[in-house]
């Protein structure tokens, strides 16, 4: 039985479809314009020396090498601290904690923490790490604040992937006489490693994109930092890519440089997302 739609309903249908196409085209168009504009303004300024040297007033050259190094610094230090903490907390919450109510409260808290504006972390990090713990405005203080920011992300994604490990794996392992930790280490963690890696990469994405925290807890110096000794390593303090972008755009009014940094950040984000989906697929097999 085939019935044609009445003209009114056909018009209605067509109208709805046109609206949906329009909103899709508008969103994609905006995004493409944005990316295109950034690349258009940014790419001309990118050169090998731009990426590999520090800015020099004497020679009148611009370089963002320090910002790249500082970004790597905060990524590595934050992850080294946040990963074991976050994964450990997630394992405790899903595998060990027996008080359902407590777990629910903690899960609710981490979910809330994952959603609050980063400037609040920035404020708290400044008060705790820079002032109370006397770390001053250093990359270490910034990294530790970033740890607090990414912990919820890492805990949540790890928990989610631990929960997808079938209960039958756990039973099978315990049924063979494994202790609990042995079971987690040999069966549960290997089957959830893809989720943990995804969480990690998401965390890296948030760290790379973060600016408020780093403005509040690290100095905005665009010069090269000295990491040669442990003491210098602890005291080093300089702008990451996002902060450098702010400095060049707002304080030096060098918009070309800012756009070049923006292009680099865009490329980094794309790379990180690609790595995330690739790692997820690879580890899932």
């Amino acid at each position: 039985m085939h019935q044609t739609l009445s003209p009114f309903r056909r018009a209605y249908d067509l109208g709805a479809r046109a609206l949906l196409y329009l909103s899709a085209a508008l969103t994609c168009g905006l995004l493409l314009c944005l990316i295109g504009y950034i690349c258009f303004r940014g790419i001309p300024g990118i050169s090998w020396s731009f990426l590999t040297t520090a800015a020099s007033v004497l020679r009148g050259t611009v370089g963002i090498f320090p910002a790249i190094v500082n970004t790597l610094y905060v990524i590595v230090v934050s992850l080294v601290v946040a990963l074991p903490l976050g994964v450990g907390a997630a394992i405790y919450l899903t595998e060990y904690a027996s008080n359902r109510r407590l777990v629910e409260i903690i899960e609710f808290a981490t979910e809330t923490l994952a959603g609050i504006p980063s400037i609040i972390y920035a404020l708290v990090g400044n008060v705790i790490f820079c002032v109370s713990l006397r770390l001053e405005k250093t990359l270490i203080a910034g990294s530790l604040t970033l740890v607090i920011m990414v912990l919820p992300t890492i805990i949540r994604t790890t928990q989610e992937s631990l929960k997808t490990v079938p209960q039958s794996y756990r039973e099978g392992s315990l049924g063979l006489g494994s202790g609990k930790w042995h079971m987690i280490r040999t069966v549960v963690l290997p089957s959830s490693v893809d989720g943990i890696v995804t969480g990690c990469i998401l965390a890296v994405g948030r760290i790379v994109g973060e600016s408020a925290i780093l403005m509040y807890t690290v100095s905005m110096s665009t010069g090269m930092q000295d990491f040669s000794t442990i003491e210098n390593f602890m005291k080093s303090s300089g702008a990451t890519l996002t902060v450098a972008l702010y400095v060049y755009a707002k304080e030096n009014a060098e918009f070309a440089v800012a756009f070049s940094i923006a292009t680099i950040l865009l490329a980094l984000t794309v790379l990180i997302n690609l790595a995330a989906s690739l790692a997820g697929k690879k580890l899932k097999r």
Binding site: E171, L174, G175, L176, G177, P190
Partner: protein, 253 residues
């Protein structure tokens, strides 16, 4: 000829919170025999099976009264090491649950857990276990392949091999064939009959023909009570209890 008792339950009560799932179960399970536990869903047969290797410990809110012993040793006694118990009393689950690793690593998992490191010893154990589980010929050329590539029936025999690799002396089978096709089921039934020479088998089954075919002794559970426990032949020809008769003739359940 009666075999010596290997597992002995005396007045065993089990509660899930307020709900009493087992009511004063007393039964002597003989060594080197296949004992089948039958009864309608929710009658407590699986629960009873899981008390034997303490898999019930994983369920929150379980309390147990009474006594159950293995070779005279109290399974819920204070000095008992659960990992030791589960090494001695292996379990095969309702759904095949191979780990997402290679066939070899699945079988070697148990021995490695219990400290076997020698490559030679592991190779031996893996081959011997796979042979005992009647799956060696099907997998010997692809031991390094993922266990998840096997069919359901093969996976279940792999799980039996995995359980045998820790050299237990009791094997608990929790509806081990209910998720399998008839051919795989009959393979596992034949296998059970073979295995009872060296192992004691306790199996839960929904399939009464299966109990009649393979079990030496059968226990009928109803609403948490052990209604009848007897030689299988006896129970299926001349049940002593009216409720057993109703169940095995298909009047309920």
């Amino acid at each position: 000829m009666e075999e010596p008792t290997i597992l002995k339950a005396e007045g065993l009560d089990l509660f899930y919170g307020e709900h009493q799932a087992l009511k004063s179960i007393s039964m002597d399970i003989p060594e080197h025999r296949i004992t089948a536990l039958i009864g309608p869903s929710g009658c407590g047969k699986s629960t009873f099976l899981k008390t034997i290797n303490r898999m019930n410990d994983l369920v929150p809110g379980v309390t147990i009264k009474g006594k159950i012993t293995y070779h005279g040793q109290d399974i819920y006694g204070p000095g008992l090491d659960v990992t030791w118990l589960r090494k001695r009393i292996g379990m095969v689950f309702q759904k095949p649950n191979p780990f997402p690793m290679s066939i070899y690593d699945n079988v070697a998992y148990g021995p490695r857990t219990h400290g076997v490191r020698s490559r030679k010893k592991l190779d031996e154990l893996v081959e011997q276990s796979l042979r005992s589980a009647a799956i060696w010929d099907e997998v010997k050329d692809r031991l390094k392949k993922s266990a998840l590539s096997l069919s359901g029936g093969q996976q279940q025999r792999l799980c039996i091999a995995r359980a045998l690799a820790v050299e237990p002396d009791v094997l608990l089978m929790d509806e081990a064939t209910s998720a399998l096709d008839p051919i795989s089921t009959s393979k596992i039934e034949d296998l059970s009959t073979e295995l009872k020479k060296n192992y004691t088998i306790v199996m839960v089954t929904h399939n009464m023909q299966q109990a009649a075919r393979v079990a030496d002794k059968t226990a009928f559970f109803l609403l948490g009570e052990l209604v009848e426990f007897d030689d299988t032949v006896q129970m299926f020809s001349k049940p002593r209890d009216k409720r057993t008769e109703d169940y095995i003739t298909g009047r309920f359940g």
